[in-house]
Symmetry: C2
Subunit: 258 residues, 2 copies
């Protein structure tokens, strides 16, 4: 179980060490969800090392890893045609751990938000990986992936246990990931998290035959769900074919009575 860093470049040597010790690896490293597109060489090397050792490596978590990639992919199974996949994840960050609240910029002024964003210190890591995972399974050759982030400003005072946000300060952020195929928008992932967010939901929209809307009205709590996923993945990863796996190319993870 590997839960140290978001960056694949930092995670890869650590994962290599675990493989060398004869261990299957389940990691919460966001860039490992679907690393083949952004880091084909590191991916091929990890895959080769895992295969040679007869072990499996999986990156997972609730997001990326499940809600905005695995789930929409599995939901397309009932469709005869898919034109576009949209996922909305809107969360009230008051109930998330402090590092998450900081990651979305809660309590900053708009100026601080802009500066920290430039430094790369804000925002969710993984929309691009989620887009590549969906595209790979659906057989779409994505030519561009765009990510954008904007602050959501508080209209009224709102507080979590740790952070107080005054009107006009940043309550959180809206992050958009768009994958285009032949110039056309085919995958749209909208991640919104703020203190006091009212429209909480996890929703998948499939535009196709048929078009479908799937929703989890209260949303899924990220911290708890990521821990559950990492644990629940154990028997599936142990039984999986050796190599660098993704959530969509091994049997579905489920809770199991221990």
């Amino acid at each position: 179980m590997h839960t140290t860093v978001s960056s694949l470049e930092s995670a890869a040597p650590q994962i290599g060490d675990l493989l060398a010790r004869g261990l299957n690896v389940i990691s919460s490293c966001e860039e490992l969800i679907y690393p083949w597109k952004a880091a084909p060489e590191i991916s091929a090397e990890l895959d080769a090392r895992a295969r040679a050792a007869g072990l499996s490596v999986l990156g997972t978590g609730v997001n990326p890893g499940y809600l905005m990639d695995f789930l929409p992919t599995a939901l397309t199974a009932v469709c005869r045609e898919v034109r576009k996949v949209t996922v909305l994840r809107y969360q009230d960050a008051r109930f998330r751990r402090l590092p998450f609240q900081q990651k979305i910029g809660a309590g900053l002024t708009p100026e601080e938000f802009a500066r920290k964003r430039k430094e790369g210190a804000l925002g969710h890591v993984g929309l691009t990986e989620s887009i590549h995972l969906i595209a790979a399974r659906l057989g779409w050759s994505v030519d561009t992936v765009e990510e954008s982030v904007e602050p959501l400003l508080a209209q009224r005072q709102v507080s979590s246990d740790q952070i107080r946000v005054r009107p006009g300060e940043v309550a959180g952020l809206r992050q958009l990931g768009i994958g285009r195929v032949d110039g056309e928008e085919r995958i749209r992932l909208e991640f919104r998290a703020s203190l006091g967010e009212e429209d909480v939901q996890d929703t998948v929209l499939i535009d196709g035959i048929p078009s479908l809307r799937f929703t989890i009205p209260a949303g899924i709590h990220g911290d708890l769900a990521t821990c559950a996923l990492l644990t629940n993945a154990v028997p599936v990863v142990v039984a999986a074919a050796p190599g660098l796996r993704t959530m969509a190319d091994m049997p579905p993870v489920s809770w199991f009575s221990g």
Copy 2:
């Protein structure tokens, strides 16, 4: 692609023939969704023949095969604890094919319904298999599975293109499957289909940590989705480990651009 019968006993020799010809098999046979519990010997034999031939056999369809078994199983991945799984599938049968409308008793008098039910000619096949599939993946040892069927009587006249139902006649049915573990109800599948059903939905309720509600407000159209699933399963079944597979022990089926 095998789409002839619901009964595993009739399907097994046909599937055996297909394996003998060197073909992977995807079947809509309802009892093949999870046959290990009801027919362990036939299952073991099919599994052995498929392994020996290096081929895979899968039973699938929207229900059983996806909505009331695969999907709830995959949704438990985000839970740290699961106490009970409930699935509701409520459909308006006016938009389903005629054999489906007949299968739910639309247009019969309550007396005809009771007689045909006794003859085994009415109702959805697969709730028991769905319960066994969920239980197997969640590690629950189900001691009893009960299925019950009751007619839903029309309050007012309602018609499909093929059948007219007068008030007091049967508009459809409600079928309940309950799986108990140590005497306690842990899996509850409610299948409701009638001409003019107003509360159309596909909903999964998980009682656990966290408890979750997941819903497809407009429901999934069964005939179209089953065809899509059978087709979309092809690349996954071809790539799957040889043997008798279930939807929950191979990578998730998804639509793919052809």
